[in-house]
């Protein structure tokens, strides 16, 4: 593993995109940043601007209105960017998969690097997913 990838691995900055979410996954993502789970141990920070982000966290079902916004956010992100689909809705569509406003799970719209299933996933599950994501960088 070279120096560039090592630095990238040690400092992933997160940007949170919530689709038509029920807010449960949002709260679990924020839980990871609280003192109990503290993902800043791994150098992860929640940033407010997509220009600074290295990881795009997408949760909630993506409906037709969200789709264009998600694509816009993905285009604005500086590459390389990693995309993580969080929750049943983000991974597969969950209970909204049959809905007529549903625009497809996240991986139909943008390439996804890691999936974290659960409704909502526990913070432990999110951290486990993030560790698997870190192993993907070589």
């Amino acid at each position: 593993m070279n120096f560039k990838n090592y630095c990238f691995k040690k400092s992933l900055w997160l940007f949170h995109f919530g689709g038509a979410s029920c807010n449960n996954c949002d709260i679990e993502i924020l839980d990871c940043l609280t003192p109990r789970y503290d993902v800043e141990r791994f150098g992860m920070l929640l940033v407010g601007s997509i220009r600074h982000a290295d990881v795009l966290l997408v949760n909630g079902s993506i409906n037709k209105r969200d789709k264009s916004r998600l694509l816009e956010i993905y285009r604005q992100a500086p590459k390389p960017i990693l995309v993580v689909a969080i929750g049943a809705c983000g991974c597969t569509g969950g209970i909204f998969a049959e809905g007529n406003t549903f625009a497809g799970p996240v991986d139909k719209i943008i390439p996804v690097d890691a999936y974290i299933p659960g409704c909502p996933p526990k913070p432990e599950a999110i951290i486990a997913g993030i560790v698997k994501l870190l192993d993907k960088i070589h």
Partner: protein, 310 residues
């Protein structure tokens, strides 16, 4: 000649300032984490952040802005920070004796990073960046008056001398300026000034993450943002060392004095961190009132006390 270059580039110069600034930034993040009962990032985290931004990430240029100005602004910020750092440290470490009026030059050069952030933000062509730039401008207007009053008070206390090396000499002979009542008042005012200059929490309205998404820096990415970060790290080392030089009796690096120097710098950064973790963000109007009325009043009281020899 080569010795001078080494001074400017390596030891008290650019490389040394960047390294110690990044370490201080890591210290600041670690202390913040401890205050919030977290474990926190490793001490070398600022290095990882910097090299990730510099080497790995793509730099995105604004489509509807001035690209050249946008990219030149972070370079100017780093240049200003390095220049002021060299001017302060060469004399604080007793390598050069400086020239008459250098304390005023340092005052002007220290304003360069903030001005560069404003220019870069206005060149980005983003409405939130403009809001951030306007707030930064108002913040500069409010704290610079207090800062120049502090410098005037220091000059007065040192017996009308405009040289930093003379100020250090006088403190070495008569004891540090902080040992008097006026010195304590000046120290309090300068801590708040530096807090605003660094953009730390009570005065971080220019890059408020939660309301205007990093404000002035919203459009920066990749290596341009790495330079912004570098300028911020450097300022985190330069401003405490400036306070050390003008109020706490200078920084000596011979023998056991190096320990005292490190403790002084760490103590001031610890103070910044404690203030930033125990205060909410104030509105820009509140910040202006705070500096224009209260801090200026404090410094003027200090100047009056200096006239009475206290």
């Amino acid at each position: 000649m080569i010795r001078d270059f080494l001074h400017y580039l390596i030891f008290p110069g650019f490389i040394f300032i960047s390294l110690s600034g990044a370490l201080l930034s890591g210290f600041d993040r670690k202390i913040t984490a401890w205050l919030q009962f977290r474990k926190g990032p490793p001490l070398l985290q600022p290095f990882y952040d910097f090299f990730k931004l510099l080497l790995v990430k793509e730099t995105i240029l604004p489509a509807k802005g001035s690209v050249l100005t946008f990219l030149a602004a972070p370079v100017f910020a780093v240049t200003g920070a390095a220049l002021s750092g060299i001017l302060i440290l060469l004399q604080a470490f007793n390598y050069k004796s400086g020239f008459s009026g250098d304390i005023l030059v340092i005052f002007y050069v220290l304003a360069m990073p903030s001005l560069a952030y404003i220019i870069g933000a206005l060149a980005a062509g983003n409405p939130l960046a403009s809001v951030g730039a306007s707030r930064e401008m108002k913040l500069i207007l409010s704290y610079e008056l207090t800062f120049i009053l502090i410098i005037a008070a220091i000059i007065l206390k040192a017996g009308i001398t405009l040289r930093i090396s003379d100020i250090i000499q006088i403190q070495a002979q008569q004891g540090s300026f902080i040992g008097s009542i006026s010195g304590v008042l000046l120290f309090v005012a300068s801590i708040f000034c530096m807090q605003a200059k660094l953009g730390l929490v009570p005065f971080d309205m220019a890059e408020a993450e939660t309301e205007i998404n990093h404000g002035a820096f919203i459009e920066y990415s990749g290596s341009a943002y790495a330079l912004v970060k570098l300028a911020k790290y450097m300022m985190l080392f330069i401003l405490p060392s400036f306070i050390c030089t003008i109020l706490l009796g200078g920084m000596r690096i011979d023998g056991i004095h190096i320990l005292w120097t490190i403790l002084k710098i760490l103590g001031i950064v610890l103070l910044f961190t404690l203030i930033r973790n125990t205060n909410p963000r104030v509105r820009i109007g509140q910040a202006m009132r705070f500096f224009f009325i209260w801090m200026n009043l404090l410094v003027i009281i200090a100047i009056v006390l200096i006239f009475f020899g206290l």
